[in-house]
Every structure is written in structure tokens, then in C-alpha cells.
Subunit: 121 residues, 2 copies
DNA sequence: GAGCCTGTCAACCAGAAGGTTGAAAGACTC
DNA sequence: GAGTCTTTCAACCTTCTGGTTGACAGGCTC
């Protein structure tokens, strides 16, 4: 089950059509018909994609007159960013530490290998 | 078809198990058995997940002695980051422009509204 | 109110995804 | 070289997904 937020977000963006919708919505709100226009698929299919994006929080549909608009929501990008940055930073830190260890190993005699104990999980 | 890179990446990260693997690998390389240990699933299933991550470029399996290690690859994070930032920035720019228009429209209000741009987290 | 466009819902279908079991090939240890 | 551990392949099952068609409700305009 893709019940948690990030799963829904990543799953929503895994589809090229939906990524394209996001890309186009970043340039401005659009009606469903405008959104659907470039794609070779039924309007119902577009609605389904829209629902996926909406459930993921990537898009909202503010109430209004009949040709309702679709709007990109940006908070979700922050969520993704936080997730990515967290692990990227952690991995980078780890690599820097490893580099330091390797540099020290090169400098000194090769039998200081026990220093690895801190870097290998 | 999830043939392009970003689709594969997002699809790979849409699964909580795989995100958890990425999270744990960011702390250090691991063998498949170590990776599999916390999960209630067969080793074959873990290999399948690993293959998805590998095909997405999120993970590599450098050659070596038999309990081969799994390593997190970070270039992919840059790709995602670029995608996210691109549309986020575009949408932000658009909102700022919209704010400016709105501010001009009700010209009664002074342009204190511009201060809002610093408060958007 | 009739008609038309917009927006939804439900049923269905084909294919992909996540998981299982079973078998088998490689690599390491003794 | 026998035995064990690691890795992979193939078949199968079930659920999810992306798409279709068809029907139908909500609003707008005449």
C-alpha cells in the first residue's frame, strides 16, 4: 500500500505524463481541457492522472466557476527536497570521512587498517 | 513505459522498502544479507528491490569478494534536485509576479506585501 | 426547460509491480 | 571435491496502474 505521503508523491511523479503536467502547471494554472489537449488520451484518463497528483498533494483544484482551474502546490517540493538532502548530506559526509581515511592510509604505513573500523558499517 | 531515467528513479523511490534501503545505505555500504535483515520478506524479493534501485542508478554493486557490498550512488540525487528546483523556481517566480500584479491591482494597499517574499519557507 | 460543455463515477481490461516458491549457477572454505 | 553461502533465474499469484468505454450529475446559455 502506498499510504504514506512520500510514496504517493514519488509514485505520482514516476509517470511521464504527470511530470509533464507538473512542468506545464509550473508555468501557470490551467483547466483540465487545456491540460489534456496535448495528450493522446481520453479526458477521463487525464482526470485520473489529476486525481493521483491531487492525492499526492502536488496539485489543488480551488473551487470556482465551471471551467475549474488546476493549480500546482509547492509545499510538496519542500518535502521531497528535505528527503533528498537528508540522505545526500549523510552520504557526502560519509564519503568525506572515507576520503580522509584513505588519504591517511596512503600517507602512513599500510598496516593502520584498523582505522577502518569507524567507516564500515 | 517507464523507460526514461527520472521515471525509473521516482518509481524506485515510490516504494517504502526501497526508500528505507536508500536511507540505510546512506549511512554506509552493506551486504545484501545485512540489508535484508530487518524486512519480513524473502531474500529474492530483496534482490528484486535491489535490481530496481540499480536500474535507476541509485545503487551500485562494486565487484569484489563474495558477500558483495551495495553502495549508494549520489549522482541521481543531483538529477532529482535539478528537476525539482527547476519547476519550483519557475512556480515561485510566477507567484511573485502574481503577487506583484495583485498588489498593483488594489493600489490602496502600500507595497508592504513585498515583504512576504522573505517569509515563504 | 433543452442542449451543451465540464466534471465524475463505475466497470472493465491489459500489463506492470511486489511478493512467493523452487531450482540452479558461482564463489568461498574445509 | 563436498558443502555451504551468495546470487540469480523462472514460474506463478495477487494487487495496483494506466487506459478504455459508458453513463450520469452540475452548471451555463439560449
Amino acid at each position: 500500500m502506498t499510504t504514506d505521503g512520500l510514496s504517493r508523491i514519488f509514485a505520482a511523479l514516476a509517470d511521464p505524463t504527470r511530470r509533464d503536467m507538473v512542468a506545464r502547471l509550473s508555468a501557470g494554472d490551467a483547466t483540465v481541457n487545456q491540460l489534456a489537449e496535448p495528450y493522446q488520451m481520453t479526458l477521463q484518463a487525464v482526470y485520473k492522472h489529476l486525481k493521483v497528483l491531487e492525492d499526492a498533494g502536488l496539485v489543488s483544484r480551488p473551487p470556482g466557476p465551471q471551467p475549474r482551474s488546476v493549480r500546482l502546490e509547492m509545499e510538496v517540493f519542500d518535502l521531497m527536497d528535505k528527503w533528498i538532502e537528508r540522505y545526500r548530506r549523510q552520504a557526502e559526509k560519509r564519503y568525506r570521512r572515507l576520503d580522509a581515511v584513505l588519504a591517511r592510509m596512503n600517507d602512513e604505513t599500510p598496516n593502520d587498517i584498523e582505522e577502518q573500523k569507524g567507516t564500515t558499517a
